[in-house]
């Protein structure tokens, strides 16, 4: 009797330990996804902060490009006020396009392209676009790993009962944007 009881208690303890291990693993992975998202967020903010400076600099030289500049400003304003992975992806995709158009226009102003301040901004912008791309790549990798884990047995049982939810991928809507975003300067 005592032996049976001990065996049962032992088994229960083992199962509990096992559940705890799975739960901790899931939490670790979820935090990894969260961290990866925070990194994207940091880079997006960095881009938002760069834009006013860039617009100011371009304005001084390219006086005839009001439309393009306004498009960038409004796209930025929209992106700043958007929340949620999917919505943000759309807004940021639009901002990327507006920036791309601005950079194409800039080609016509050799004085601007020789401006030291503009060159520094341009490097910052290129780097920021790269960082967004790389952060997104890393985030999506983490999300894929996390989603695979929650859906596979036996983790899905634990994940289901503790309310772990699938994470969303961060995909920019335009097919051309799917490649790591590159602002081209030539």
């Amino acid at each position: 009797m005592l032996i049976t009881l001990m065996v049962v208690v032992g088994l229960v303890v083992l199962v509990l330990l096992w559940v705890v291990a799975i739960y901790n693993g899931l939490v670790r992975q979820r935090n990894e996804v969260k961290n990866a998202w925070a990194q994207i967020d940091v880079q997006l903010k960095r881009r938002h902060d760069l834009i006013p400076n860039l617009v100011e600099t371009v304005k001084g030289y390219a006086t005839h490009e009001r439309g393009t500049l306004d498009a960038v400003i409004s796209a930025r304003a929209k992106a700043v006020n958007t929340h949620g992975v999917a919505n943000q992806a759309v807004a940021e995709g639009e901002l990327s396009q507006a920036l791309g158009r601005l950079m194409m226009v800039v080609e016509n102003y050799p004085d601007l392209k020789a401006n030291q301040n503009f060159l520094a901004l341009q490097e910052e912008l290129t780097s920021t676009e790269n960082r967004i791309g790389f952060a997104r790549q890393f985030y999506n990798d983490s999300v894929m790993k996390y989603n695979t884990v929650i859906e596979s047995f036996p983790q899905n049982v634990v994940a289901g009962s503790f309310g772990f939810q699938r994470a969303e991928h961060f995909e920019l809507q335009d097919a051309a944007q799917r490649e790591a975003p590159q602002v081209k300067f030539s």
């Binding site: 990866a36 990194q39 880079q43 392209k113 020789a114 060159l119 520094a120 341009q122 490097e123 910052e124 290129t126 780097s127 790269n130 960082r131 791309g133 790389f134 952060a135 790549q137 890393f138 990798d141 983490s142 894929m144 790993k145 799917r178 490649e179 790591a180 590159q182 602002v183 081209k184 300067f185 030539s186």
Partner: protein, 523 residues
């Protein structure tokens, strides 16, 4: 990516285990040799032999010397442990100071800083590595640091000057991949083990050489068979152990280079960046003034090694040409694409663990090149001079489909030229040679060829009748072709050219291109 690290670690554990066994065995052999050969007293042995009426066999003598064997093993491990501790606690600072690296701040090199930050994000490192610059004109880079979160990368100032943004990104991605894959930590561990083994083997040989001299005669007299056997074993060990350890170490080091290349391609999603950087580095490696053997495996290309070294077993890095070829033949930027390219290039073996390949579900596409402004990369004086010379001297310049520029000297006689990079054959365009001869004439270089050309051209000058001739050209084949426009300017057609007209680069006239092969099949 994580699986890559894990399978890396498993493989590394194997290596460490084998090398550790070698180290301990070497220690035991040293202990036994010291006990049985160097401290062996023939007179005492003869005396005990007479007293007991029994001469100790080899096995018995080994058993007698077991204490010394243990001490030997202990000393071997102790030496390794001490060296290892000193490397872990101050290894990277020794490395960096021996390479005369200075740490930079963001303002010193904003682009380099940005690129390192980008790669830190791409690799998902917890902390950005410290950045060092080595003031040296050679092209190289390395990673250091025992802990991935307290790592450092160093680049030479020459590298910073001669690579563009994409190439620099490729190189730093490779270095950060080394940090990410825990290569620095592991290679330190293994390198120190290797060093200890080599050192102990050297000690053993020396000890036998000096110790053996004094007693060679006496051991022969007593017929110490066991001693001779022990000397043979010790000799074999002293020679084979370091060799084996080196082969193991170098094989692992090379594998890690490939893996770092694959990771770099995946991080940047632009294999061409690293490939073209490697090509530039290979072309002008330039041994850094005080590069020593210890630092060598950490560099992106081994600075001490001649590329055509026959003994490939003993090199820390795979042949650069092969690394470039693999990177260039990748169909995507992911691990799977690298693995395919690796197998195609090497015809055997695997590079990346199966788990890593399986974990990568969707194909990773290669991104487009980021084009730089001219202001970003100012020409060095050498490059500027080279460019001027290119224009002034009568060279024929062909651009190959793979991007290489072939520069043919004025005296080029053969009708074709081979691209040194991809091996494509190029027809040497006649018009360009003609133009070159013109330049040569203008410079006053009257060569035999110019004279022959003058004799061959009819009296009428091309410029006079230019306007009358119809602007059309019939293609002879599918290769590189060139002809003279009616204005006299050379026009070149690449093998990829398919359109029906081409504009003359000088007079802007449209020239009709008739495809001879197409026409032939049409009629």
């Amino acid at each position: 990516m994580w699986e890559a690290i894990r399978s890396n670690q498993r493989r590394s554990l194997w290596l460490i285990a084998v090398m550790g066994t070698l180290l301990v065995a070497l220690g035991i052999v040293i202990g036994l040799t010291v006990d049985m050969v160097l401290l062996f007293n023939p007179l005492q042995a003869v005396k005990t032999g007479l007293e007991t009426g029994h001469v100790a066999t080899f096995q018995e003598q080994l058993w007698e010397a077991r204490g010394s064997a243990l001490i030997g093993a202990g000393i071997a491990l102790l030496v390794w442990g001490l060296l290892y501790l000193s490397a872990v606690t101050s290894g990277d600072s020794i490395l960096l100071s021996s390479a005369r690296a200075r740490e930079i701040r963001r303002e010193d090199a904003p682009q380099l800083w940005n690129i390192v930050e980008e790669m830190t994000i791409a690799a998902g490192l917890g902390r950005m590595p410290r950045i060092f610059i080595i003031d040296d004109a050679s092209l190289n880079a390395f990673a250091a640091g025992y802990d991935p979160n307290r790592a450092a990368v160093a680049v030479t100032s020459g590298l910073l000057k001669s690579l563009n943004r994409d190439e620099l990104q490729g190189v730093l991605a490779h270095e950060i991949a080394h940090i990410r894959n825990h290569d620095v930590r592991f290679m330190t561990l293994a390198a120190i083990m290797l060093g200890t083994i080599v050192m102990l083997a050297h000690f053993l040989l020396r000890a036998m050489f000096y110790g053996g001299q004094g007693r060679r005669g006496s051991s022969r007299q007593t017929g110490g068979g066991a001693q001779i056997l022990m000397i043979a074993v010790a000799l074999l060990f002293a020679i084979l152990a370091p060799l084996l350890a080196q082969v193991l170490y170098f094989a692992t080091s090379r594998r890690r280079e490939y893996l770092a290349d694959a990771s770099a391609a995946r991080f940047t999603r632009y294999p061409e960046g690293l490939a073209s950087a490697l090509e530039k580095i290979q072309r002008r490696p330039g041994v850094a003034a005080d590069t020593n053997q210890a630092v060598a495996p950490m560099f992106i290309i081994n600075p001490l090694q001649a590329e055509r070294s026959l003994v490939r077993l003993f090199s820390t890095h795979p042949p650069t040409a092969e690394r470039i070829r693999i990177l260039r033949s990748m169909s995507g930027a992911g691990f799977q694409a690298y693995e395919e390219a690796y197998r195609a290039a090497r015809k055997s073996g695997r590079c990346i663990g199966a788990q890593t390949l399986a974990a990568e579900s969707d194909a990773v596409t290669i991104r487009t090149a980021s084009v730089q402004t001219a202001e970003d990369t100012p020409l060095s004086r050498g490059e500027a001079v080279e460019r001027v010379l290119d224009h002034a001297l009568p060279f024929v310049v062909l651009t190959c489909g793979c991007g290489t520029k072939l520069k043919l000297p004025p005296g080029w006689k053969r009708p074709t030229a081979e691209c040194p990079r991809c091996g494509r054959q190029h027809e040497v365009p006649k018009a360009q040679t003609a133009q070159v001869l013109g330049v040569a004439a203008a410079l006053g270089v009257a060569t035999a060829a110019t004279r022959a050309a003058e004799a061959a051209t009819p009296a009428e000058s091309p410029a006079k009748s230019a306007a009358d001739r119809p602007a059309r050209y019939t293609r002879r084949g599918r290769g590189w072709e060139s002809f003279q426009c009616t204005c006299g300017h050379p026009v070149q057609l690449s093998p990829n050219f398919t359109a029906s007209t081409i504009g003359c680069p000088k007079c802007r006239r449209r020239i009709q291109i008739i495809d001879a092969t197409a026409e032939a099949s049409g009629t």
